[in-house]
Subunit: 450 residues, 2 copies
C-alpha cells in the first residue's frame, strides 16, 4: 500500500528542513532585535473564534470538524484571533506595549497553486496596547528588516501603505456610509485585478456617478505618492466633508506625517510607497494598512498587516489598540529561490570517527562522546567496513576532519587525523586528538549551522 | 463573548515559550552532535496511514475527520508512519544509515491528566537502513544524552532495556505462538500495573499452567539483570526450545553482549537497567525495546523506542531495518520543573533607548537600527513619556544598558549611557555610543538567549 501526502501539505526532507529553519532563525533573531517576545497558541481552536472574527463565510476555507467531545473546532487559518484571546485574558498583568511574535503553521482549505498551499508557515508580529503611528512604523520597520536580513533589497520588494480611515473620509465625500461604503471598499480591494468595465459594473449599484467617481479614484491612486500630494487631495475633498469628516481628515494627515517621518528615521524609507489602492480585504482593520510585495513578476504579497484597534474587545478582552503583520513562508521562499538568495543548506558532520576492526572501538566511541559534548557534530561507524570505504564516505558527506582508529595504531594508543580540506594527515597520540580536532575546527570556523 | 482554549491544548505565554524553546534547542543541538539531520512532515495525514500501522483500534484516540474533498484525514498521533513514508519514498537516493530527527507536535484524543495532554511535542530520532546492536546503542546514547544535557542525571532517570525477540524465545518455551503469544505479551506489558490475581486471570485462557509460568516469569524479571544472568536463564530454557528457537536465543545473547558493550563505551552504561518487564504495547517492534523513566515518584516514561525492521516495507517502501525513539515534552517538563532544573526564562532587552521630547528622536532610532543590525535586542519608546518613567520601565524590564537622548544634549550630539548593573552613567558623544554599548554588552556577555 502506497501513501501520499495530502494535497497542499509539504514534506521537509533534511535540505528543505534546513532552508525552512534558516527562514525561522532569521525571523526569530530580527524579532528579538526589536525586543519582541515569542508566544504560541494551539493549532486547533473553537470554530466560533474564527466566525466571531471573520464572519460565517470564513468556514468554507477552513479545515473544521466536530471532535469526539462534540466541539466544533478548526485548524487555525491565522494567528490573530488566538493572539487577541491570549492578550485579552491577561491584559491587566502585561506590560504595555506588548511586543509579541510567533512563527507557526496555519491551514486553509483552498485550491493549492503557486504561492498558496493548504498548510503554510507565518511569521506574525504585533504591538498591542498602544495607539499612534510610531508603533505602526516600528512594526513596518520590523517587517522590512526581516525581509532585508533574508538577503532582499529595495529592488526586490516594496511596502505599499494605505489607510482605512482615510478611505472612510474619501467614501464619506462620495456620500457613502455603512454597508455601501464597505461594498465599495470591497470593489476597490479587487480593482487592481479587474478590467475597468468590471469595476464600473460592480460600483454602479452603490454610486450616483460611478464613472466620474472611478476616474477620480484612479487619479488619486496615481497622484497621491507623498504627504504633500495627500494634503492637496484632502484639501480638494474638504468642501464635500462634514465637520467630523474634516476633523478626521486633518487627524489622518498628521498621522501620515508622523508615520513617514518615523519610517525614514528607522532607515526603511526607501522601501515605502504610498498606495491608496491597498485596502486589504479583512474588515477588522481600523487605520493604516500595508503590504510588502515583490517588485518583479506578478508582484505577489510577501506580508501584510495593519492596525486593528477593536478586535481584542470583540473577542472578549478589554479595549486594546493593536497593530500587526503576518509574513508567509511560501511566497517569501519562492522569491528567495528565484533570486538565488538562499544560503547553501547541506548538513555536514564536523568530524567522522572511523574504526577498522574492534581494537580501537572503545577509544573511538569515547572520543566521539567528548567531542559531542563540546558541540561538535560527530559520526561514528555503525557497522564493520574497510578504512578506505569509510574515508570515502566521510569525504562525500563533507566532514572537515576524520579521526582514524587503525588496529595497528590502537596498541600504541595512536590515531591518524586527516583534514579533508588540505588532504594532510598526522599520526598522533590519542589523548592529543580531541584538542587538535577542536583547535582545527575552531580555526576553520565550524561550518555555519543553520 | 469569551473564548477558551480547547481541553488538553496549551497556550505558551512568552516565559513558557522560552522554556519550550530551551527544550527544543537542547534536543536539536544534541541530535546534531550525533550527526542527525532534521526533517519534518505534515501534521495532517491520511487516516489510513495510521490504521495500516496500528490497526483500527487507533481511530478511537485520534482527531480524525473528513476534509472538504471527502478525504479521511487525521492529526498525526505520532511521527513514525510519516517518517517511514518519507524514507521509503527516497530509499534509493538516501545514504545509509539514515540518521534523522524531528521535533514536532502530535495529537491524541485522550482524557487529559498529569503527564498527558491532547497536544504534545515529541523529539523523534531514528536510524534507518542498518541492522545490528551498534545502531541501537547509538540511538539509546542519544536519548540518554538529550536528557543529561537538560540537567538530569542517573539519579533522576534510567533506561530500561528489553527485547521482543527474546520474548519470542521465552513464549516459545512456554509453548506459545501467534495470537496467544501476542495476547500473553499484552498481559506482560500491563502486569506491572495489575494485582497478581488479575494477571493470573488474564493469563489463564492462554497457558496450561498459568501460575507456574507466572512464577517463573516473575523470577526471570527479578533475576535477569546482567548478560551473565541472561545467559544462565537461556541455558535453563534451552531444552524446551526448538532448533530454530535455540539459534535465535544464541543470536540474541550475542546481540545483548554487543549492545551493552557499546553502551558502556558510549559512556551511558550507568543509565542502563536490563528489565524484561518492558514490552512496549506497540505490536510493530522487532528487537530491542527500551524506555527512559524517572527514578522517583510514579516512574513515568520520559521516552521510549525500539527496533522496528518491518514497518517501512509495511507502509509501501522497500525492506529497511530501523530503530528509533520518541521523547515527549510533557513528562520531561514536569520532571525538570519538580527538580528545578529549568534555567531562568525571562526575556530582557539588551538596550533600552530612551528619548525625551522629539529633538533626539531621529538619532535615537538610527542608533537602534545600528545596534539591532549587530544582533542586540533594542527597545525604543513608542509614545512620549518623562525620562524618569522611561528609566524606571527599562530597569524593570531588565535592560542591561539605557541610552538616554535628552533634548539639552541633543544639540551637542551627546547622549547619556546608564549601566543598570553598577548604576554608573556617562555622558558621551553620540558617535561613540554604539561602540561603547557593544563593548559593554560583549564584556558583560549578552544575556543568555534561549
Amino acid at each position: 500500500m502506497q501513501f501520499k501526502t495530502l494535497p497542499g501539505f509539504r514534506e521537509f526532507y533534511p535540505e528543505e528542513c534546513l532552508q525552512r529553519n534558516h527562514l525561522f532563525s532569521v525571523w526569530r533573531s530580527v524579532a528579538r532585535s526589536f525586543g519582541f517576545a515569542e508566544y504560541d497558541a494551539p493549532i486547533l481552536e473553537p470554530l466560533e473564534l474564527y466566525i466571531e472574527k471573520s464572519g460565517e463565510e470564513i468556514v468554507g476555507q477552513l479545515f473544521n470538524f466536530e471532535d469526539r467531545g462534540g466541539r466544533a473546532v478548526a485548524l487555525r487559518p491565522e494567528m490573530t484571533p488566538s493572539l487577541a484571546r491570549l492578550v485579552g485574558a491577561r491584559a491587566n498583568g502585561l506590560k504595555r506595549p506588548v511586543r509579541w511574535f510567533n512563527i507557526g503553521e496555519h491551514y486553509r482549505y483552498e485550491r493549492p497553486q503557486k504561492g498558496r498551499l493548504r498548510a503554510f508557515y507565518q511569521f506574525n508580529a504585533d504591538i498591542l496596547g498602544i495607539e499612534g503611528a510610531a508603533a505602526d512604523a516600528e512594526l513596518i520597520a520590523l517587517m522590512v528588516q526581516s525581509l532585508r536580513r533574508l538577503g532582499l533589497s529595495s529592488e526586490d520588494f516594496r511596502v505599499r501603505l494605505s489607510d482605512r480611515l482615510l478611505w472612510k473620509v474619501i467614501l464619506e465625500a462620495a456620500g457613502l456610509e455603512g454597508a455601501s461604503a464597505s461594498a465599495v471598499l470591497g470593489v476597490v480591494d479587487k480593482m487592481e485585478r479587474l478590467p475597468r468595465e468590471k469595476t464600473l459594473e460592480l460600483l454602479t449599484p452603490h454610486l450616483a456617478e460611478p464613472d466620474a467617481w472611478l476616474t477620480r479614484i484612479e487619479a488619486m491612486m496615481a497622484q497621491v505618492d507623498s504627504v504633500e500630494a495627500l494634503k492637496a487631495f484632502l484639501d480638494e475633498l474638504h468642501p464635500s466633508l462634514s465637520p467630523d469628516g474634516q476633523t478626521l481628515a486633518a487627524a489622518r494627515l498628521a498621522e501620515w506625517q508622523v508615520l513617514l517621518r518615523e519610517l525614514k528615521m528607522l532607515g526603511v524609507g526607501d522601501f515605502i510607497r504610498i498606495d491608496l489602492g491597498i485596502v486589504r480585504g479583512l474588515a477588522y482593520y481600523t487605520g493604516f494598512v500595508f503590504e510588502a510585495f515583490e517588485t518583479s513578476g506578478d508582484s505577489r504579497a510577501l506580508a501584510g498587516g495593519g492596525r486593528y484597534d477593536d478586535l481584542v474587545a470583540k473577542l472578549g478582552g478589554p479595549g486594546m489598540p493593536a497593530v500587526g503583520f503576518a509574513m508567509g513562508d511560501v511566497t517569501v521562499f519562492d522569491l528567495l529561490k528565484s533570486k538565488e538568495r538562499l544560503p547553501p543548506c547541506f548538513q555536514k558532520p564536523d568530524v567522522a570517527i572511523l574504526v577498522e576492526g574492534e581494537t580501537g572501538r572503545g577509544s573511538a566511541l569515547q572520543l566521539a562522546t567528548v567531542l559531542r559534548e563540546q558541540g561538535c557534530s560527530v559520526e561514528v561507524p555503525l557497522k564493520a567496513q574497510s578504512m578506505n570505504k569509510q574515508l570515502k564516505a566521510a569525504q562525500q558527506k563533507g566532514a572537515a576532519v576524520a579521526v582514524c582508529f587503525y588496529p595497528e595504531l590502537a596498541e600504541g594508543a595512536e590515531v591518524r587525523v586527516r583534514h579533508f580540506a588540505d588532504r594532510t594527515e598526522r599520526t598522533l597520540a590519542l589523548d592529543e586528538a580531541a584538542s587538535l580536532v577542536l583547535a582545527t575546527l575552531d580555526q576553520a570556523a565550524f561550518p555555519d549551522e543553520l
